[in-house]
Symmetry: C2
Subunit: 499 residues, 2 copies
């Protein structure tokens, strides 16, 4: 084989990978947006077969031979090509360890599980979800061995979402959060609570859709390349750097819910839209890790979206859309209301301060589930006990308890810690950004272009060219969770007038 032929094959291989993923994504998107209710079976059959074809293609020994050849040709490769070979090698080694039958069965299972989860959540019926969840957990334990048999199974899964992450590191990280934040939560409980009742008046969905359009405009999301849809659980999906979709979910009596989900998913979308378009159709496309992805979404959602300068900038338009509901409400009232800290039941609705406790609960459960010390049937009981212990709230039903998140139904175990890590990364990025430029002046005028420019320059454009750790190091410096806890302590001490 000569180098040029090998490089053509490398490109063709990645284009095929892109095509299969695009097909699966389109089917998934259809399934959760416009597909009629009783149609999951047909999509499941198609997804299973496509996954099987993809598996066959990428576990073919010829792919292994191609990669081996290119690994010996390092001087002839661009840094991009070398990184592609490295990433494909990882995927190839992993995939070739998963038997094709298992891989297809798993693809069908996750499609079915998504449908079952939706029904189970609607009916608040964990028993309905339990059998598929048991199968999902069994698959994940097996996959963990395929991923890296030298690691503890849950470490192997964590490594998939954030390379190098371990239970040991997370236990330490969450330890710092617990130690620093529990006292703040306790002190707040003794103070007069912020009034956010005006956020729960009636906000017609039609008007909320207009607010979403406005927020997307402020975020600088180009609608010719980014659409918004509506789903049970909001998410971001990227086809290419030129085609990204976000979704939200409108609640008539909760203005902040959809507003902040749009800003959150908008952060994910900005990341995807900012990746070098030269990486479209190859494996450098897309965000590099879940932790870095969440650092971007939570950066826009909390550090920008819940800041006083940003709220001052967007509040006039919000009040224009809801003049009656927000009569006599000031930007400052709005700022305080959307930052109210209160232990609660639903992760996606949690405030910045208590949010990481929701993550910790899921982390503890996953650690035990994958580690084998917890059975699926006992999840509701353990879930409810941890909410009582960590947050002091009683879970009234599984819909608002262990059935609230879609992650497990999609086969994502080890993802949740990314939310907390991303939040911590984000604050370190903000501090560096503040040292280098005027952040709050432009944000206060509703101009996010400089902020997005900084993030694009340090993070977005690289796509998967660099390892997540490298990206984080460049944008944040060395990881230091106290930067995050300092930020939260300071913000909430001011908000609640603590000493």
């Amino acid at each position: 084989m000569d180098l040029q032929t090998a490089l053509q094959q490398l490109e063709a291989l990645q284009q095929k990978q892109y095509a299969y993923r695009t097909a699966s994504s389109a089917l998934y998107l259809d399934g959760v947006t416009v597909a009629p209710r009783d149609t999951a079976e047909g999509r499941g059959v198609a997804l299973g077969i496509l996954a099987g074809e993809e598996h066959k293609l990428f576990s073919d020994p010829q792919v292994g031979a191609l990669l081996t050849f290119l690994e010996g040709e390092t001087t002839g490769l661009t840094p991009e090509q070398a990184r592609q070979v490295q990433l494909l090698r990882r995927g190839y080694d992993q995939l070739s360890r998963i038997p094709a039958g298992e891989y297809m069965e798993y693809a069908q299972l996750t499609n079915q599980a998504s449908d079952v989860w939706h029904r189970a959540k609607e009916a608040s019926d964990f028993a309905l979800f339990r059998p598929v969840l048991e199968r999902l957990v069994a698959f994940q334990k097996k996959f963990a061995g395929y991923f890296d048999s030298t690691k503890a199974p849950y470490d192997a899964l964590l490594n998939e979402y954030e390379r190098g992450m371990t239970m040991e590191k997370l236990d330490r990280f969450f330890g710092v959060l617990r130690e620093r934040l529990v006292p703040v939560i306790r002190e707040i409980a003794g103070r007069p609570q912020i009034d956010d009742s005006f956020l729960h008046r009636s906000f017609p969905v039609e008007q909320q859709r207009k607010l979403s359009d406005y927020l997307m405009e402020v975020l600088g999301l180009d609608r010719a390349h980014c659409a918004i849809g509506e789903t049970e659980h909001p998410f971001t999906l990227n086809f290419t750097s030129q085609d990204v979709r976000i979704t939200t979910n409108y609640k008539e009596h909760d203005l902040a819910d959809s507003m902040y989900s749009v800003i959150h998913e908008g952060g994910h979308a900005l990341y995807e839209l900012g990746v070098n378009p030269a990486y479209d159709y190859n494996c450098l496309a897309g965000g590099v890790s879940m932790g870095v992805h969440e650092s971007q979404s939570r950066f826009y959602e909390n550090l920008i979206g819940r800041s006083l300068p940003f709220i001052r900038a967007v509040f006039p338009r919000i009040r224009e859309l809801f003049p009656q509901q927000l009569e006599n409400v000031t930007a400052e009232d709005f700022y305080r209301a959307v930052n109210k800290a209160q232990p609660s039941l639903i992760r996606t609705e949690a405030d910045e301060l208590t949010y990481c406790f929701h993550v910790m609960i899921r982390y503890e459960i996953e650690k035990q589930l994958i580690g084998g010390t917890l059975e699926v049937k006992d999840i509701p009981q353990v879930w409810n006990a941890l909410y009582r212990d960590y947050l002091g709230v009683e879970v009234p039903d599984d819909r608002r308890g262990c059935l609230q998140d879609s992650h497990w139904s999609g086969g994502s175990f080890g993802y949740f810690p990314s939310y907390a890590l991303g939040s911590a990364y984000g604050v370190q990025m903000l501090r560096n950004m503040e040292r280098e430029m005027d952040v709050w002046g432009p944000v206060g005028r509703g101009d996010l272009s400089a902020v997005t420019g900084w993030l694009r320059d340090r993070i977005h454009r690289y796509g998967c060219l660099l390892e997540p750790g490298e990206v984080v190091e460049r944008a944040c410096g060395p990881f230091d969770p106290t930067v995050y806890t300092d930020y939260l302590e300071d913000k909430y001490r001011r908000l609640y007038g603590l000493k």
Copy 2:
């Protein structure tokens, strides 16, 4: 190879075909419904690659060998399996004549063409569409040779949509229509015109959506298996017999437009939903030909939907939705208005009587284009001249002229005659139905179950098990275009009080 292994391979092959088509359909559906504007490129790359993979799979000589083996095992096959082998053989022989490169290029072209056509139509700019249309026509001429090199190119294309159809048969068919219907159109021109102005008042889209929901209910379309979306050009798409989508397009000042597009597409959907579910995931799934498909859609749209008994049944609900717009309008007024006959510009808005002339114009143009006696650049001029000759109307711009239909942008040449054939088939079906059961009593009560039951029994359930000609023969008896022209003459003579 033993028979059982061969049959397993036969099933697996068809499931793969299903999976690739499902993927392409999902991408297409996304592209014309919710995808952001500037995202066609990425879908085109994916569609091209998927088409290439599918092509590789089905032009593999192993498939040929499998089919040859099964063709020698006729006694061991069920009638369904024997028919699958027959259909796959046709597809295999055809596909293996198309070079993979051309096939992929064509898949990318049709995706791009759909996007270009949308823009060209919006801007009424034929010059924008012309280059891709030229490429499409060139492909179609080449494909015609691959399909059947013993036939004239346009006959080879016609045969794809309606097996056995030829220019000779169509010239005869359209000759009868011209001879019988032109005098009726001329006589009507001398009579006072029906007043349909109330159909063009302001009908808010929100209310029109409710009308669609109601019509889908009356048609007996199960919403758990059939969704409705909104697109520029309405269409029906089937994933399986359990998952069918229809689309419509609302015009504020034209109540009948979306109403009858919903009933038309609903007819297509009832066909797809009525196919034996045992044919899901194999090549017997779906409607058997475009002519038979249009016989169903136009049956519901015109023979049922534009009948007085049906309108009497649904009018109370329509007036409930639009009380002000339809004040003082009776069911009989509504019946007359939606049946007004008047030469016009837009095929999809044409009345039953003049409709086939729109089809004839497209037929004449396609015949010459594929036959090589007309160049793409001359289409607008010929189009406009034919509209003047056949219908006596002046085409003011290409948007309302030769850019109005999506068919050519999707690579469909030879499809249009199916609309006229289907209309003729439908009337013969109705006459047979009337001989066997009470059609109009239940329809007058808004109950279409017996009508749909009859069609399901004679047509729908067979899917592709029988040849189109066989299905038509069973449901219609021998083809006789005068049954259709008698129906039209009788209906319009009464409506306009001709002698």
